[in-house]
Structures are given as structure tokens and as C-alpha cells.
């Protein structure tokens, strides 16, 4: 518990946390679908 408290109160901790959040958001966005193209069915005739 003391060890955890030591990490959390470390002055650099918030920056590392910010980095981890950035990475998490990026990985989340990697799975998102941004396509906006209209559906187009090619007419063979």
C-alpha cells in the first residue's frame, strides 16, 4: 500500500498517466470506423 502511495504521489506520475491515457485513446480509435462513403452497388449491366 505504501509502495502504491509512493508511486501515485511521485511528481512524474501524472505525466505517465497522461501518456497511458493517450495510448489508450489511440488504441480505442484504431478500432473505430470513420468511413463516410455512400453505399454504392456496382451495376453490372
Amino acid at each position: 500500500m505504501k509502495q502504491l502511495e509512493k508511486i501515485v504521489t511521485n511528481p512524474w506520475f501524472k505525466w505517465v498517466l497522461a501518456g497511458l491515457m493517450l495510448i489508450a485513446i489511440f488504441i480505442y480509435l484504431l478500432n473505430a470506423d470513420f468511413s463516410s462513403a455512400p453505399e454504392f452497388i456496382y451495376n453490372q449491366f
Binding site: P11, W12, K14, W15, V16, A18, G19, L20, M21, L22, I23, F26, L29, L30, F34, S36, A37, P38, E39, F40, Y42, Q44, F45
Partner: protein, 540 residues
């Protein structure tokens, strides 16, 4: 202050390291599976990924751009069938889909040109693109690849004018069909083309680009791992492919597949699209033509990109379906104008052309009313392979010829008289039936008449060659056939001709003369390689 800067640097470095690591990982996985992607031409995961195509182009492969015909997987000539899904020393990498036309091909080529080691590309041009409206906005938006657009707009070898021209066309079409994509394209144009210094726009583009690039690589890497190796045995040696035999097989398969109509259209296509309304369609296209279309501008853009990136293009001029177009009353004179416009564009941009316009009425060339079919693919395969084997040359004269052999009486024993005698009327004309595969000669027809006359001394033969079609702007021309070589010069009327004496019997010479290759120096230092079918006239 120093602590704050270090603090900000920590998440940036962490984030950068993860993004870099992911990209390296995805690229390695794509590289590992690139061989399995060769003939996955209907997958957006492959076609949107510059990384994947870059890996695929490393192999001995010819990029072939096209549209819906790439999905006409009919017959032994379809590239994946012919090259055993990649188990070959030569492959065609098909790129395109239904609705994809010249403008998108120009964008893709601009993005991929630097990754094409052979510096060559093939574009299969469909007449149906050249309508008054040209490409449909929905089709354009649906096929649009933002990764390719980014590659295009950042290619340093393309001039500002060409980029602006393409960008204007793309913006105009997307504005209507896909506003969100339009906004992103405008942002790319402002940052990379107009060099906007607005930091907000720059960060927006860089951030979005990084996300989309990683996303595309990830999709491609995951998809690539699901593929199975479809290559089949035995290994194909492209130089040993027998195209004449393939044409025979194609004929047989075509006959079996087209049984319920008089247009040589594949049965299921005819049943699905035509049978119920065939009577209504008679003369239904009167007044419709391909003479005027914005697509000509787009094709010119493709050729401009080729020129500026140093890529040598081969344009495949696919014909309309002759008997069907007659039936629906389509403007046939307009078709001839269309063919000529394509030839003129190729000439202007020094592009090679594989001109199939004479094949409008050849059964089984197309599989339906517009897509390449059994024979069409075989002709195309042969032409593309020849194109790939001629480094630094421009093939300008494609067309089909037929050979005849004429056997006549010998008139004299000396060379000069033999030539004269050979020009006299000959008897006993035999059709040799040497139909060529894909011919590479002049649109109007390049035909060589070889006259063989025995001289007085037995076992000695004089062979004179006379090219019966005009070839303009070609110098240092020679013809090779049967292991013989003729230096050709222009006669008084401007036709190419030449004569050699051979220490062999006329029969032995005749047996070797089938078709030849004409070589010469064309315009702007470009080489000319034309396939010539030979009509042999023998004088004894």
C-alpha cells in the same frame, strides 16, 4: 519550467514509442504475408494499403489497373488461373473495382509510382467510362482511398499543376457525394499542396494521418494473417505459356457457357440482365455516344502522372460488344471516334497501347456486353507479358492480322528478277490460318508480304520483305523472323522493304517464316516493337 517541459515530453515519448512500435509490427506482419495477397484483388484491405502493395510490387510483377472486368474470373486466361495464384515467375497485380475510373487510377498511380520497381503499369480502359457524365459521384466516393490520396498529394515528382488539376476534380466530385471525405481532402490540399502554415490545420492533418495510417496497416496485417496460401502446382514459367492453346481452350469454354442467346453472352448474365427485356432494348440507345466525356480529361491526367513519375504505361483499349451495340442502336461512328481519341492520347503521351478495337465482333472476347471474357484475357495476358519483357520500349502498334501463304511458279534465277516475279500474280492461295494472339502492330493493320523465290542455283533462296502499311516516324527498322533478319528501308512510295539471300531451299525457308517482330527507333528515342504476321508468296 524545465520540469514542465520534461513532464510534457514523457507522454509524448511514450505515445510516439507505442505508435512506432505498432507500425513496425504491422508492417512486418504485412511483409510476411505479402505473397498470399498477390491475387486478393477484391480486398480493400490490400488495395488501400500502400505498405502491402509496395511489398507485392517487389516480386516480378506487373501492376494492372482496371475496373469491374477484374472480377470477370472466367477462363484459363484470367491472371490468377493462368499464373497459379502466384506460383509463377511473372504475375499480374490487379488493382481496381467496379466504378473505379481514370481519376482514381491517376491518384493511386501517383501514390504507388515510387514503389513500382519495373517502372511500368497497365491500365485497362473501358469504353463505358466515357459517358457524358463520366464517373458517378457515388462510385467515386465509394472507391476513394484516402491513403492513396495522401500518397498522391505528397509525391514530390508530380508538378503542382497536375496535382491541382486532380485535386480540383476530386474535390468537385466528393463535395456532392461524401462531404466528410471532402472536408478531409480539402485539409490535405491546404496543408500539402498549398503549404498552409496554419498550425491547427497542420496538427489536424498530422494527427489524423497518423491514426489512419496505423489503422490501415493494422487492418491489412490482421487480414493478411487470415489468408491461406492459394498458390497451385505446378510452377508456371511465363515465357513457356502457349497462348494459341489457351485461345483454343477459351473457345471451348466460351462455347459451353454461351448457349441461350445469339450475342455470345454468358448464359447466367443474359438470364439475369437481358432476357426479360431484350425486345425493349432493340434500338434503345440511339443517339448515345462516347464521343464527348470528361473522362478523356481524367485519362489524360493518368497519362500526365505517368510522364511526371517516369512510369511507362500500357493502355488496353477494350472494344465495345459489336453485335450487341448494333442491336441497341448505339452510335457506331461514335465508337470509332472513341477508339481514335484513345489512340491519339496515347500517341501524345508516348504511351504503349494494346488496341483490341478490331475485336468487337470476336465471339468470347467479352463475357457479356462489356467485361473481358475467355479470349479477351488471353489476348491481354500475352500483350502484357510482351510489354513487361521489353525494357525501355514503347509498343505503339497493336492489332490483329491473318497470315496467308501463296505458292506460285518461279520466274527467274536472279535476285532482282525474283523480286519482280514474286510481285506477279500467284496461284494456289492457301489460308495458313495462323491467327495471332495479341498483336502489337499498327491500328490500321501492319502486314508484311514476304516473297520467296528460288534462284538459279539450287538450295539458294532470295527472300524479299515488303511492309504493306505505312509506318511513320520510325528509323533503323529491321524485321526478324525464322532466325533471319532484314534491314528495311523505304521504297519510292514510303513503304518499308528489304531483301536477303539465304543458303537454303525455299521449302526450308518457308517452314520457318510465320510471324515476325519488327524493331525500330520511334519518336522521341522510344523503341518500337511490332508483331508482324507474314503473308508468304512463293515463286518457283
Amino acid at each position: 519550467m524545465k520540469k514542465l517541459l520534461i513532464g510534457i515530453l514523457i507522454p509524448v515519448v511514450m505515445f510516439g514509442a507505442v505508435v512506432l512500435g505498432l507500425n513496425v509490427n504491422y508492417a512486418a506482419r504485412i511483409r510476411q504475408n505479402a505473397g498470399k495477397m498477390l491475387y486478393e484483388n477484391n480486398s480493400k484491405e490490400r488495395n488501400n494499403s500502400i505498405t502491402a502493395l509496395k511489398e507485392i510490387y517487389q516480386a516480378d510483377a506487373m501492376p494492372v489497373f482496371g475496373s469491374s472486368e477484374l472480377f470477370s474470373m472466367f477462363g484459363p486466361g484470367y491472371p490468377s488461373n493462368l499464373f497459379h495464384y502466384g506460383n509463377s515467375d511473372f504475375n499480374m497485380i490487379l488493382y481496381g473495382q467496379g466504378g473505379m475510373q481514370s481519376l482514381e487510377h491517376a491518384i493511386a498511380l501517383a501514390a504507388l509510382a515510387d514503389h513500382m520497381p519495373d517502372g511500368k503499369v497497365v491500365l485497362i480502359v473501358s469504353p463505358q467510362w466515357f459517358t457524358v457524365d463520366s464517373v458517378s459521384p457515388d462510385a467515386f466516393a465509394s472507391c476513394f482511398s484516402e491513403r492513396m490520396y495522401k500518397g498522391f498529394v505528397t509525391n514530390p515528382h508530380i508538378s503542382y499543376d497536375t496535382k491541382r488539376w486532380i485535386a480540383d476534380r476530386a474535390e468537385a466530385i466528393l463535395k456532392e457525394a461524401d462531404p466528410a471525405q471532402y472536408d478531409r481532402v480539402c485539409l490535405y490540399d491546404q496543408v500539402y499542396l498549398e503549404k498552409s502554415v496554419d498550425p491547427a490545420k497542420f496538427l489536424n492533418v498530422v494527427g489524423w494521418d497518423m491514426l489512419q495510417d496505423t489503422q490501415t496497416k493494422r487492418k491489412t496485417a490482421i487480414w493478411g494473417e487470415t489468408l491461406e496460401n492459394t498458390a497451385t502446382e505446378p510452377a508456371v514459367k511465363a515465357a513457356e505459356i502457349d497462348y494459341a492453346e489457351l485461345l483454343k481452350q477459351s473457345q471451348v469454354e466460351g462455347e459451353a457457357a454461351c448457349t441461350n442467346n445469339r450475342f455470345y453472352i454468358e448464359d447466367s448474365y443474359y438470364d439475369l440482365y437481358i432476357a426479360s427485356k431484350v425486345e425493349l432494348m432493340e434500338n434503345s440507345s440511339e443517339g448515345v455516344s462516347y464521343q464527348e466525356s470528361p473522362e478523356y480529361w481524367d485519362l489524360e491526367l493518368f497519362l500526365k502522372v505517368c510522364k511526371e513519375t517516369g512510369i511507362q504505361p500500357l493502355i488496353v483499349n477494350v472494344p465495345v460488344h459489336g453485335s450487341w451495340y448494333d442491336y441497341i442502336g448505339f452510335d457506331r461512328e461514335g465508337c470509332r471516334v472513341y477508339y481514335q481519341k484513345i489512340r491519339d492520347l496515347c500517341r501524345t503521351y508516348d504511351a504503349a497501347i494494346l488496341d483490341f478495337s478490331e475485336k468487337e465482333y470476336e465471339p468470347y472476347f467479352l463475357k457479356d456486353i462489356m467485361h473481358l471474357g475467355w479470349k479477351g484475357w488471353v489476348y491481354l495476358d500475352e500483350g502484357v507479358y510482351r510489354f513487361s519483357q521489353n525494357p525501355g520500349t514503347v509498343i505503339e502498334y497493336p492489332f490483329t492480322l491473318h497470315a496467308t501463304v501463296e505458292v506460285g511458279e518461279a520466274e527467274t534465277g536472279n535476285e532482282t528478277a525474283t523480286e519482280t516475279g514474286a510481285e506477279a500474280e500467284n496461284e494456289a492461295t492457301q489460308e495458313a490460318g495462323l491467327e495471332a494472339g495479341t498483336e502489337v502492330t499498327q491500328e490500321a493493320g501492319l502486314e508484311a508480304v514476304t516473297e520467296v523465290g528460288t534462284e538459279a542455283a539450287p538450295g539458294k533462296t532470295t527472300v524479299s520483305v515488303h511492309i504493306t502499311d505505312h509506318l511513320s516516324d520510325v528509323q533503323n527498322v529491321f524485321l526478324e523472323t525464322g532466325g533471319y533478319r532484314w534491314e528495311l528501308t523505304e521504297d519510292e512510295e514510303g513503304f518499308l522493304c528489304g531483301s536477303i539471300s539465304i543458303e537454303e531451299d525455299a521449302d526450308a525457308v518457308l517452314a520457318k517464316l510465320q510471324e515476325g517482330i519488327l524493331h525500330g527507333d520511334g519518336r522521341f528515342g522510344a523503341g518500337v516493337n511490332a508483331k508482324v504476321e507474314i503473308n508468304v508468296e512463293e515463286s518457283k
